[in-house]
């Protein structure tokens, strides 16, 4: 390490690994109620984690939530990009995850055909 810039570059790289401990950035929220788990939420979660690792998106937060009453549409996956509405995708299968991450998380384009709800955030 020879300059302040070297240190700052290293810091940027290391910061992403600590992102889990900050409450900002893009969030992926998976419905892990009994209904969600029965519909395969765990497999969806694994697919999400796998895809994030492949794409090295280590600043994306993955959270879980309970049943929101739309059990029919499980597995439910919400994507929240900072400053954008919370989009809920329904009947998500592990094989859909790649597309949702590529389109919505990375490029900000909502995958309209899978959306079941939209919540405006303050």
């Amino acid at each position: 390490m020879k300059t302040l810039e070297d240190l700052k570059a290293l810091r940027e790289k290391l910061k992403a690994d600590m992102k889990v401990r900050q409450n900002d950035g893009t969030k992926i929220i998976i419905g892990m109620g009994t209904c969600g788990i029965a519909a395969g939420a765990r497999e969806v979660m694994s697919a999400v984690l796998n895809e994030l690792a492949v794409r090295k998106l280590n600043d994306v937060q993955v959270q879980q939530t309970g049943c929101i009453g739309m059990c029919e549409k499980e597995v439910l996956v919400d994507i929240v990009r900072p400053g954008e509405p919370r989009i809920t995708y329904g009947k998500v299968k592990p094989e859909d995850v790649k597309k949702i991450i590529a389109e919505h998380v990375v490029n900000g384009r909502i995958v309209e055909e899978m959306v079941v709800g939209k919540i405006m955030q303050d």
Binding site: M1, K2, T3, L4, L7, K8, L10, R11, L14, K15, D17, M18, V20, R21, N23, K27, I30, M32, G33, I37, S46, V48, L49, N50, E51, L52, A53, V54, L57, N58, V60, Q61, V62, Q63, Q64, T65, G66
Partner: protein
């Protein structure tokens, strides 16, 4: 490979470790493995969060959920419920004692709300054994900024402007100290970090070293650059094995990355650090004694001048600061002196870490801006007195400090107002006492401490504190005489004026401050042979009240057969035989024995 979606931060400070956090950590690793979550959940051991009363503490991110008093048997539930399904385990959250409301996030807890964490910023938030985590939160940027963009004069100017004062007790302006060391011309200079934390009840330095060791290394390196030193020592007591271990790891990691060692950031500045383990003598916290100890000599103070800035370690110019002082340096350099001077009062800038102990609900570490009142620290952060008892006094500043009564609770806490009140900032130990504490006994406790820690070099301290302790002992044993208070005052004055070092000069403070605010307690002991708090055993009078059923249990327990009476009739204690052991009181099933 998997994306790490959750971090489980487990406090690995000495407090939480002794409460079983190591077992909790092992249980987490096992349960996470069993649940197949090893690739997506990371377990991190951190330093102290300060909320030691409620340890072991566990924080789960990304939610930031704060779990208290976690036991190994709770872990499976946290893993199954929280980590697997995302459901918070309500029963392990912190419950506000007054409202019984459960609080999931620690920034919402009263204990943390009033705090302002600069020095403790990373304690409990990062893994102290990984330099990467320190760098990720901005670590070593102050050092880089100092050595590549600032001159040593700029650094000293910045520290002076910030208003930082020594956190070890005296409160000497840090920038001035650095300037004196810089002004000394020599082929060799040293930087020393005084981590010989010895005040009873103080543990803030230990927590900083355990929780964020790199911050101290960085502060020392900046100081080395400023004064022109290329070598430094951390003098830390051997009773702090965890702090020593983490410091060693930190130095090794910093050297491996070129952040310590030769030619740091290509600036030509080199800095090497050593650890010196102290044997735990209180006097070695005194700077000249500390340096003697590093040199391998017996730890005894010497007269000043010459001050260390002129002739210190091995006769070379040396700058000594306390752990917490160095803990402030990086933030000042990174954010600027004006930012730092925005905290605190006119003459006491920044924050101070206090160790809360004694009869207080939330034992732990709290960092607050200077100028906050004692009441806010004790009641808002500390949660008040435990067991619903009444507050009596707070001892601040350790054996060199003093006791402040209830009337001083609204005093603003800064160096000068505390000194004016007869106490001192000291290292920041706060021992809270309730109505059951005898103030003469407290003074005796602290004098007993300084007496046994006196190095014996100068007569006033060696003999004077011994005489004072004798007088205090006889007062608490009911042998106090007319004139004892005056004798204590005279001895105190002489010791203060003539002792060689700070230890001796401040040793009478606990006696003087209790005499100032609680003189009536001394008088009650001497004139009425009575301890108003009921704490002095030799002065206690045990009496059997009318609630006595005459069961005879007490009489059988009494080791000196001082209790007599007929069965089913009220018993009596023969005060001439009674040795005040309290065995009768403990044995009575009807609470018919009182102590007064």
């Amino acid at each position: 490979m998997q994306h790490i979606r959750a971090h489980v931060l487990i406090c690995g400070g000495t407090g939480c470790k002794s409460a079983g956090s190591k077992e909790v950590q092992l249980a987490f690793s096992r349960a996470i493995e069993a649940k197949g979550l090893s690739d997506e959940v990371m377990v991190v051991e951190t330093g102290c969060h300060g909320f030691c009363e409620h340890g072991p503490l566990v924080i789960v991110y990304p939610e930031g959920t704060f779990y208290c008093q976690v036991k190994a048997e709770d872990v499976e539930e946290i893993v199954e419920s929280h980590l697997f399904k995302g459901r918070i385990v309500e029963r392990l959250l912190y419950h506000e004692p007054l409202t019984h409301e459960s609080i999931p996030n620690y920034s919402e807890i009263n204990f943390y709300k009033k705090q302002h964490r600069l020095v403790l910023e990373n304690c409990g938030a990062i893994n102290p054994e990984q330099i990467e985590e320190y760098i990720a939160v901005g670590g070593y940027e102050a050092l880089a900024k100092a050595v590549t963009t600032m001159s040593p004069e700029d650094v000293i100017e910045e520290i002076k402007k910030s208003g930082l004062r020594g956190r070890g007790g005296g409160g000497f302006p840090t920038g001035m100290k650095w300037q004196f060391a810089k002004a000394s011309v020599s082929d060799k200079k040293y930087v020393i970090c005084n981590a010989d934390e010895g005040d009873p009840g103080a543990f803030m330095d230990r927590s900083v070293l355990e929780g964020d060791p790199h911050k101290i290394l960085e502060g020392m390196a900046v100081c080395g650059y400023a004064i022109g030193a290329d070598e430094g020592y951390i003098y830390v007591r051997a009773e702090y094995p965890l702090a020593i271990k983490r410091l060693r790891i930190a130095i090794e990691q910093a050297e491996a990355m070129g952040l310590l060692g030769e030619n740091i950031f290509g600036s030509g500045f080199s800095f090497k650090l050593h650890i010196k383990e102290g044997a735990g003598a209180f006097v070695c916290g005194e700077e000249t004694a500390l340096m003697a100890s590093i040199e391998g000599k017996r730890g005894m103070p010497r007269p000043r001048p010459p001050f260390p800035a002129v002739a210190g370690l091995w006769g070379k110019p040396t700058n000594i600061n306390n752990v917490e002082t160095f803990g402030n340096v990086a933030a000042i350099i990174t954010n600027g002196a004006d930012w730092y001077a925005g905290f605190g009062t006119e003459k006491s800038k920044g924050t101070k870490v206090f160790a809360l102990t004694g009869k207080i609900n939330n034992t732990g570490l709290a960092e607050v801006p200077m100028g906050i009142t004692m009441r806010e620290i004790i009641y808002d952060i500390g949660g008040g007195i435990n067991g619903g008892k009444k507050f009596k006094a707070v001892q601040i500043g350790g054996p060199s400090g003093g006791c402040l009564p209830e009337s001083m609770l609204d005093l603003s806490i800064d160096y000068d107002s505390l000194t004016a009140a007869g106490a001192m900032m000291g290292s920041g130990g706060l021992v809270v006492m309730d109505e059951d504490t005898c103030m003469v006994d407290v003074a005796k406790f602290f004098l007993n401490f300084t007496q046994s820690e006196s190095c014996g070099k100068c007569t006033p301290c060696r003999e004077g504190t011994k005489r004072m302790l004798e007088v205090l002992t006889r007062i608490t044993e009911g042998q106090g005489r007319e004139g004892d208070i005056e004798l204590l005052e005279e001895l105190a004055r002489n010791i203060k004026e003539t002792a060689l070092c700070g230890l001796g000069q401040t040793a009478p403070n606990p006696v003087l401050s209790t005499l100032k605010y609680f003189r009536h307690e001394y008088e009650a002991h001497i004139k009425e042979k009575r301890c108003p708090a009921g704490a002095c055993e030799k002065l206690a009078n045990y009496e059997i009240t009318d609630a006595c059923k005459g069961c005879g249990l007490c009489a059988r327990q009494c080791p000196v057969n001082a209790i007599s009476g007929e069965v089913k009739k009220k018993h009596v204690i023969d005060v001439t035989k009674c040795i005040k052991c309290g065995a009768c009181m403990a044995a009575c099933p009807f609470k018919a024995i009182t102590k007064g």
